[in-house]
Amino acid sequence: MRVRIVIMPREGLLDPEARAIEEMLRQNGVEVDNLKVGKIVELELKNPDEAKLIAERFLINPVIEEFSIE
């Protein structure tokens, strides 16, 4: 089964990338707030229940990132 793991910076952490993109959008007249930039890992898994374990063990750094599974 195809599983999508969405990795986002932890709440409250400075996200320089998001800040710069937000700055650019505003300069171009886009009204925007609370923009976030994350990563997506898509993978085929025989057992989709393993996704959480895989994310925790191999993909994310809990000090700076949180994740959700779709």
Partner: protein
């Protein structure tokens, strides 16, 4: 000649470029401010290396979306000379002034080194002071310098001799071994079909003095000036 150096927030080779053009070569060169992009007076615009706007999302993207980015586009459309070095090359591809894109290096690391380059076309405004197939040496310093284009675009580039510089070995040999970042066709620098826009990953502004061990970049500046 009147050179304008685009100093975007986060550009960091702007001073080095100014030093070469003004102090070493005695040209009329000054910074162009991102807030006040007046380009008409200039004969040639240099987009220097660095990390404009932090290079966030994609290197060069945000700079391309500024008013100054738009002015550079218009300047180039009028047939005037534009050179993008490193981050400047990335900005030029984001502006679609040059074909293709620059991706994360393979292997995916920043690389600072000195490389050999072969001059592939010495009939351009940017390379005319080199001899054809001349092997030169210049520093590189980038993490997103892997040149990529579709097969179709690549064919067009090659068919029109738009590749000006290729990564090579000390004897000019073109092979994977001498490709520092995984660029297609070992491409290090290209120009547009009209021949007035040039983008390259190596840093000619760092290769103009014996004291720094490299001087092969000088001829790029002399080509433009003559």
């Amino acid at each position: 000649m009147k050179f304008g150096i685009c100093s975007f927030p986060g550009s960091n080779c702007d001073y080095d470029t100014l030093y070469v053009l003004k102090d070493l070569l005695g040209q009329d060169a000054k910074f162009i401010d991102v807030k006040n992009p007046q380009l008409l007076d200039f004969d040639c615009i240099i987009i220097p290396g660095g990390f404009s706007f932090g290079d966030y999302l994609r290197a060069g993207l945000i700079a391309a979306k500024t008013a100054l980015g738009q002015e550079i586009y218009n300047f180039a459309q009028r047939g005037k000379l534009v050179v993008g070095i490193c981050n400047g090359f990335q900005i030029l591809t984001e502006l679609k002034l040059l074909p293709g894109a620059l991706l994360k290096n393979d292997p995916p690391k920043f690389i600072c080194d000195a490389v050999y380059l072969r001059v592939e076309n010495n009939s351009s405004s940017f390379t005319k002071r080199y001899s054809q197939k001349e092997v030169i040496k210049m520093p590189i310093a980038h993490s997103q310098g892997r040149y990529f284009a579709t097969q179709e675009t690549l064919k067009e580039i090659e068919d029109n001799s738009l590749v000006l510089l290729r990564y090579c070995g000390p004897e000019g040999e073109i092979s994977k071994e001498f490709n520092p970042n995984g660029s297609l066709g070992n491409i290090a620098g290209i120009m547009n079909k009209e021949g007035n826009v040039f983008g390259l990953m190596p840093h000619p502004e760092r290769a103009c003095e014996d004291i720094l061990s490299f001087r092969d970049g000088l001829m790029i500046w002399h080509s433009i000036i003559s």
